[in-house]
């Protein structure tokens, strides 16, 4: 059968008796459909045949990041819908879904926030994609076609909600079908990743994949996802009983977080000395230290055991940092409400990925913020789709000391909402990747937030003139250390020149896919001369980068660690050699699709400079 764009591929169980010969696997779609109809009406066979169907995703509903441009078909998450375009070929193709980052390069940068305390060891996810399929099924397999650097998938979850239903139910359940560690695959081959998944008690057509590319040598690329399952609930006796997951025992966070009153017993007083055993002898600070190593669910469970631990586990000192991202499926307004009393000393809060589909509302969020946001220094709100303008207003009013704000991929946030950020005058780190912020709000923020050190404006497509924005930066934000202008389509040498002169402390600059920058204007050389502290420079897909630019970097930027010059035809190995010799700290050099730097040169340079990871991607 030729591959089709349609989403159904019918297959049959092997149990179907061959006496019904015409129920063949090799029939055309028409024959298969009619034969299935006959089976369902019980005409030909006495055996109950369960029909297993394969589906490709029909829509990508949500995702945390992607490499490509917002309206493009190239390297964007939209490519994960539909059938495979590339599999089983292995290579760097435009028709695949690619995340924004890979490896540990971004974590090494100064712009990366330190990890949150209490992150459970089982939580590895860095990116996610949510896919909708046409028909809800009881899944028997999920296959992910990975066509470049496989190994990134770390979790597959299924949702009880049908995203296309007109009347969504009140409660939305997410079940983990499979969870694992990030891996990397050594053989350069496309892979059909199909881990054994848990049996579900409800049908699903909404699958979420979570990924971690930290072990990979280059960007992972995904071609398609297949959901295989049955329409009818499988007969339990045909399968082994599902293992009862220990986390399932406590079904909701309310139970965990509600202190309850059941443990207060009468007549405790005479046993006071021995009530908690040797724990009574330990100093308060020591128990606090012990308890500080527990993950949040364990902390909540421990709080229910006895008064002493309840006191320790609800002590606000345990909640100076709080990451609720690993618990995104179960977090809702009531959970936040229960946490309020403990979080009065909260300084760093991570609500990334939470609150979707009505789980968190303005009421719950603002109540929490007003109670606990006063001392907040860092607020991570990546992919928080519950946010609206009023939420941002609440943040701007309660978190006056806020230094770090991450609104990455909050693409449903109305442009008007960003104006409130200008009230956060102590901001040092601001991430607006893939948001719809407009120029006026941006200029307003830059006017008032003069202490900015790290600014991410990657894929902010609604900003009309980047030269104006960058000029303002150069004037107002002189302490700037890192600037991400990935895909900022109309930045020219004028803006860049002012940036180089105004922000002399700049260490990281991402100008990837900024096609309006021309090397012939001298802008890159000017950059190199004026920014001696440069540690990271991405000039990805700027086809004009040439030998003189590389030589200027070699002459001036000896602190350089990461350099990406993907896709230029003008750079030769001579200037690269000079660069590698002059920059002893260089760790990453991406020369993919540089036509004058072939595999042989890469091999030679890798041999001479073994500390540098030289990347040479290919399409084949």
């Amino acid at each position: 059968m030729e591959r089709r764009q349609s989403c159904y591929m019918n297959t049959y169980f092997e149990e179907v008796k061959p006496s019904c010969m015409w129920l063949g696997l090799s029939g055309t779609r028409g024959e298969a459909l009619s034969s299935r109809r006959a089976v369902e009406s019980g005409q030909r066979t006495a055996l109950p045949v369960s029909v297993e169907i394969d589906q490709y995703a029909i829509e990508v509903l949500d995702f945390s990041s992607h490499y490509g441009s917002e309206n493009s078909m190239s390297y964007t998450m939209r490519n994960l819908a539909g059938g495979p375009n590339v599999y089983p070929s292995f290579g760097d193709f435009t028709q695949t879904a690619v995340f924004r980052a890979y490896g540990t390069w971004w974590e090494q940068c100064a712009s990366a926030p330190p990890p949150f305390h209490r992150t459970p060891k089982s939580f590895h996810s860095q990116d996610y994609i949510e896919l909708a399929f046409e028909e809800p099924v009881y899944p028997t397999a999920v296959e992910v076609l990975e066509t470049y650097h496989p190994g990134a998938i770390v979790q597959i979850t299924a949702c009880s909600l049908n995203p296309f239903s007109q009347n969504p139910p009140a409660d939305v359940r997410w079940e983990v079908l499979w969870a694992g560690e990030p891996t990397k695959v050594l053989t350069p081959q496309a892979r059909q990743f199909s881990p054994s998944i848990k049996q579900l008690s409800f049908p699903t057509n909404l699958i979420r994949l979570e990924a971690n590319s930290s072990l990979l040598k280059y960007y992972t690329e995904l071609d398609a996802v297949v959901l295989r399952g049955q329409r009818e609930r499988p007969i339990m006796s045909l399968y082994k009983m599902p293992r009862i997951d220990i986390c399932d025992l406590s079904d909701s966070d309310e139970e965990l977080l509600d202190p309850g009153t059941s443990f207060r017993r009468a007549g405790d007083e005479k046993y006071m000395d021995l009530v908690n055993g040797y724990f009574d002898r330990l100093p308060y600070e020591l128990i606090q230290l012990i308890v500080s190593h527990l993950t949040l669910p364990d902390l909540c469970r421990l709080a229910q055991t006895c008064k002493l631990f309840h006191q320790h586990c609800c002590d606000p000192l345990q909640y100076t940092q709080l990451s609720l991202q690993p618990y995104w499926p179960r977090l809702n307004d009531s959970s936040l409400g229960y946490l309020q009393s403990r979080c009065t000393l909260l300084q760093r809060l991570n609500l990334s990925w939470t609150g979707g589909r009505g789980a968190l509302t303005l009421t719950g969020f603002s109540s929490f913020m007003k109670a606990c946001g006063g001392n907040l220094v860092c607020l991570e709100l990546s992919c928080c789709h519950f946010l609206n303008e009023v939420c941002l207003e609440v943040i701007s009013q309660t978190c006056s000391g806020l230094q770090e704000l991450n609104l990455s991929s909050c693409d449903r946030l109305h442009p008007q909402a960003f104006t409130h950020i200008s009230n956060l005058t102590r901001l040092r780190r601001l991430v607006l990747y893939r948001t719809k912020i407009e120029q006026t709000a941006m200029l307003s923020i830059l006017t008032f937030c003069t202490e900015l050190r790290h600014l991410n404006l990657g894929s902010c497509v609604m900003i009309e003139d980047y030269d104006v924005v960058v000029s303002m930066l150069a004037v107002r934000c002189r302490s700037l250390r890192s600037l991400d202008l990935w895909r900022c389509r109309n930045l020219t040498e004028r803006g860049l020149a002012e940036l180089a002169v105004g922000c002399r402390l700049l260490e990281e600059l991402d100008l990837g896919w900024c096609s309006t920058l021309q090397s012939s204007s001298g802008c890159f050389q000017h950059l190199a001369c004026n920014l001696p502290h440069l540690r990271k420079l991405f000039l990805t897909a700027n086809r004009t980068v040439c030998d003189s630019d590389i030589e200027e970097l070699a002459a001036n930027c000896h602190a350089l660690q990461h350099l990406d010059i993907l896709g230029t035809r003008m750079v030769t190995s001579t200037s690269l050699r000079k660069l590698l010799q002059a920059c002893p700290k260089l760790l990453l050099l991406d020369v993919s699709f540089c036509s004058q730097v072939d595999a042989r040169i890469v091999q030679e340079l890798s041999g001479l400079f073994p500390n540098v990871a030289i990347k040479k991607s290919f399409t084949q």
Binding site: M73, R543, G567, R569, M570, F593
Partner: protein, 297 residues
């Protein structure tokens, strides 16, 4: 595939003065392609739908049938750039846009613009240029929407006569309008037309209409009357007949191209402009022949 009986019915209706505008059936294009690359060594079909430096595509979507032809400008070869890379990638990208539904049937210029934009999003540093002609049949409205940039083009033939045709867009002799991606620094020197410069047209079509979309390799070697003569031989709207006719047109153009004494349209035009030449014009030839028929799944 139409049975003889149903096609007979259609021909009868068409002959009796066309179908009413309120005809509720969906239309489709039965299309076949054929061509010759100028350089035989490359073979007739390189990677499918590619004849020398020409490239084409045929795509189906539930709302429309779309065809495209792109003629890669051969002059890039002198600078070490493979001219077929640009045209092939452009056509494949447009095909993908159509298959994924990322287009509006009434705006073939939109397909061209998006396709060209996607070329710039490719990590691979593409270089080169090509003409482009896109033809879209909107199934429900029975309208044909076209856009043409450069000297490829299309003809619509009804009842043995040309009822619509595209115009050639030339900057000067043998220099058609073209989409291009130039090497850095050469942007001012290399001709680069915007997709907006394409000519667009929209008109109604009827069942039985014949649409011929081709690169200039055909039109420069075969005048209209010869093409019409070949098209008279197209008796039915099934794929095999269309394929046969497309093949015979392309073969004839190919023969004429290498005839040194033949007064080809190209030679005629040159003479009209003061150049005393005769003979055909050896060039890549791409022919997409379509017949408007009823839509069957």
């Amino acid at each position: 595939m139409l049975s003889v009986l149903s096609y007979g019915r259609l021909v009868a209706r068409a002959v009796l003065g066309g179908l009413s505008q309120t005809d509720g059936r969906d239309y489709s294009l039965v299309t076949a392609s054929y061509g010759f690359g100028k350089d035989f060594r490359k073979g007739i079909l390189k990677k499918g739908m590619c004849y020398g430096d020409d490239a084409c595509f045929i795509a189906r979507h539930k709302s429309a049938d779309v065809l495209g032809v792109a003629d890669g400008v051969g002059g890039w070869r002198d600078y070490g750039v493979d001219p077929s890379q640009f045209s092939t990638t452009l056509m494949r990208t447009c095909e993908r846009l159509v298959k994924e539904g990322r287009f509006t049937p009434s705006s073939p210029v939109g397909i061209l613009t998006s396709g060209y934009y996607e070329l710039l999003q490719n990590k691979v540093p593409l270089l080169g240029s090509s003409t482009a002609c896109i033809v879209v049949l909107d199934r429900q409205s029975h309208q044909l929407h076209t856009c043409n940039l450069g000297d490829s083009g299309f003809l619509v033939v009804r009842g043995g006569e040309v009822v619509h045709r595209s115009d050639e867009q030339q900057h000067y002799f043998n220099t058609p309008f073209q989409l291009s991606i130039a090497p850095p620094g050469a942007e001012g020197v290399v001709l680069s037309d915007s997709p907006d410069a394409a000519d667009s047209s929209s008109f109604d079509v009827q069942l039985g209409d014949i649409i011929l979309t081709a690169s200039d390799g055909l039109f420069d070697n075969m005048p209209d009357y010869m093409i019409l003569q070949e098209l008279k031989k197209l008796k039915s709207a099934n794929y095999d007949s269309v394929q046969q006719t497309a093949q015979s047109i392309a073969k004839q153009a190919h023969e004429l191209a290498y005839d040194p004494n033949y007064m080809s349209p190209f030679a005629q035009f040159a003479c009209d402009n003061g150049l005393n030449v005769r003979g055909g014009k050896p060039d890549d030839i791409t022919v997409l022949l379509s017949v408007v028929a009823e839509y069957t799944d």
